[in-house]
Amino acid sequence: MTKRLAGLLAVAVSTVLAFPLQAQTPRSGGELVFPVPSEPPSYDGHREETFGLIHPFAPFYNTLLRVDPFDKGGTKPYPSLAESWTVSADGKTYTFKLRRGVKFHDGSDMTSRDVKASYDKIIFPPPGVGSSRKGQYAVVEAVEAPDSHTVVFRLKNASGSFMASLLSPYNFIYKADILAKDPNWHEKNVMGTGPFTFVEHVKGSHVVGKKFANYWDKGKPYLDGFRAIFIRSSGAQVAAVRGERAHIQFRGFTPADRDNLKAALGDKIVVQESAWDCILLVGINHEKKPFDDKRVRRALTLALDRHQASESLSKIAIVKSVAGVQVPGTPFATPPGELNKLAGYWTDIDKSRAEARRLLKEAGVPEGFSFTFTNRGIPMPYEPLGVWMIDQWRQIGLNVQQQVIEPAAYFGVIRKGDAQVFMDFQCGYIVEPDLDMYKFVSSDRNPANYSRYKDPVLDDLYDKQSRARSVEERTKLIRAFEKRLLDEEAHYLMTLQWHRIIPHSSKVKGWTVTPSHYLNNTLDTVWLSE
């Protein structure tokens, strides 16, 4: 009960805080036009992982919960199809009360049966059906629908991140009858309860949606419709906004694009910025000598002047903040003062590099030692960060060659374990330690740990923070995890947190940037001032 009240209070507070953003009276009408840099292979949110699906297709669906559309931090749970929820005292039972009067686009009623069928497909997919996010719900024992408007999730154990995992924008609620007939139906068809109904998708060109007249949130959506246009070239995307053929691009532009648009369009452009829940990591293959020696790995991180890079690289690339394992400014992020105590984050770079040289000497690595840094063939921000790191490592007497591999082949090559030091990447739909730190558990637990190490101490810290029942306890455990990962063992190196820059037409209202480009694309709150 206390948690339910806390949930409602959080919603109330966020609504009040968001009030200035919503102060203007929304105007109905108009078509929102936005470029999308990538086109999804199918329409099934349970199967795909690309933002190219979310931007044009999320407006056709609702999820059980969503992230508060006006929360800049992008972490606060907000009602969607579930209007309220409670958590049992042992943290193992989550009960959701569903909204009444919700209609699918075919006119039928949405009930708990549909929610259960959708989550069963995600968590317990039938044989032969792929689910991208099954692994995120390993803690779920069962999904139940005791009555037509109640859904219960029973967990195997309490989990600090379960609520956050229900905020996934990919967990579209599908109609149970359709799933029963064909669980793959949604790969090629669209039918949800979202604020917009599907009009057309011309492959390689665009997706069109129009306002759903029977949407449950009366008065919404404000827009008559939207048109998502697939534009791969970033230059053409910028030109579309600059030529006022498009209102907004939801993924992000570079600092140079922002400055050009602002210079060209002045007050007609509004810029929203946020730390971005994506980061390039440097993987260090522990199976390759001398990188099995933690002194060498620590030297690699100590060589990087992250503070200086934050200033200079943020002018030319989509990176900015100096970060640990959590996006700066979010609930579990390490405060800068504390972060600066970790190896590689010291503010005195001369001292840091002197220590790096000492460690290399101690480990028997000679001056001018050569190794290959493998990078992914994507210009932004892989290229500037790669060049920067090679320069930093040269300053401690290392000679680094860069090998650039085409994107589609990249992870296949890295997975084989032939690379010595390489660029790795992670990107999340929500800032949540369980989701963000799973990357770093031992490689026998997570094959996506390409640094190929096994560290039971780190795994134990991960599990403990995941099950912690208080914020203070969890924060302490996350700090310990971060110190072991980045400082003591230097298993992986962090570069700089990505920085999301959204310059959009000043006509676009009711949209708030968040740290994730997967969030806030339902478009129900968005409106056009003219």
Binding site: K134, G135, G412
Partner: protein
């Protein structure tokens, strides 16, 4: 002639078969596959091996290579290119959507190039070493030196900065709205057609210069024939032979080779589809596209040979 045409058409079969084998094997040599391209590059940490196995099985990638090849060839024999591994849609549908745009753009660029190249090439030849010749040479060398995508970017910037206008971003077929269609395609057609015309202009000029020095032209002049008649009836027909080869090959190239120009103008054409198919490791779509482009090249070469015979009565095929 009929026997020759039938022979050439039959010769196409082993050529296309060779192309099919080559592209099938080359694609499998390149690291990565469509499932990795789909799931490994998104930054997620929860992609399981189970999911990858399910997806590979769905696409038939768990089958031995010989079986994958024979299944594909059996489909081709029935003119069924199969389904795209990336989208799961029929390949004919994927290509049909883009083909109309690419074909129209290729035709428009060819028209632009031909309208520029033939008169300019002739003019430069008959006014050899005058300021007119120099001007045409500068114009054509500039066209050769300037990549069409760069010219395209300049055109877009000028339209945007000077005229505050941009071409439409979505393709509209000509029969639906001719104005929108031309407003989108005329600019890439000009950008591509200019570079294309530069090649053809230089070819036309040198072929014309060669023909103008031939004895039969001198004889025609000595007989007092009107210059326009000499040029149109005697010189141009002969000088056109190498130009036709260039135009034919360029036309075939334009159908699938305008990758960067399509990106600059955001055109939903075959070039971009080609690049995406390769980067997604969409084996079936890439194979189909390579076969189609190869077939177009073979057909254009064949049509060029036939045109030779029509233009030059001395050429006879057996």
């Amino acid at each position: 002639m009929t026997v020759y045409i039938i022979k050439r058409m039959l010769m196409m079969i082993p050529t296309l078969l060779g192309v099919a084998v080559l592209i099938f094997l080359l694609l499998r040599v390149v690291p990565g596959d469509v499932v990795e391209a789909r799931y490994m590059g998104q930054g997620s940490q929860f992609t399981s091996q189970d999911l990858m196995d399910i997806e590979r099985k769905k696409l038939g990638l768990d089958q031995p290579l010989w079986k994958q090849f024979t299944t594909w060839m059996w489909g081709i024999a029935r003119l069924d290119f199969g389904l795209s591994m990336w989208t799961g849609s029929p390949i004919t549908e994927e290509i049909k959507l883009r083909f109309a745009l690419s074909l129209q753009l290729a035709v428009m660029a060819t028209v632009v190039a031909t309208l520029l190249a033939i008169p300019l090439g002739i003019l430069a030849a008959i006014k050899q070493d005058t300021w007119i010749d120099y001007a045409v040479r500068v114009f054509s060398i500039a066209g050769l030196a300037m990549p069409s995508f760069w010219l395209g970017i300049l055109m877009i910037l000028v339209m945007l900065i000077v005229f505050k206008w941009l071409p439409p971003m979505v393709f509209t077929p000509f029969w639906v709205n001719p104005w929108d269609n031309l407003a989108q395609l005329i600019w890439p057609a000009l950008a591509v057609g200019y570079r294309y015309s530069a090649v053809a202009t230089r070819m036309m000029r040198s072929a014309m210069l060669e023909v103008l020095r031939e004895d039969y032209i001198r004889t025609a002049r000595a007989k007092g024939l009107w210059l326009k008649l000499i040029l149109s009836r005697h010189a141009m027909k002969n000088a056109m032979l190498p130009v036709i080869t260039v135009v034919g090959l360029e036309f075939a190239f334009l159908l699938g080779g305008l990758v960067v120009t399509e990106q600059v103008f955001n055109l939903n054409g075959l070039g971009l589809l080609f690049v995406e198919a390769i980067s997604h490791r969409d084996y079936t779509l890439t194979q189909a596209l390579v076969l189609i482009v190869a077939a177009v090249f073979i057909f254009v070469n064949f049509a060029t040979d036939i045109a030779y015979a029509w233009l030059d009565p001395r050429i006879r095929y057996r």
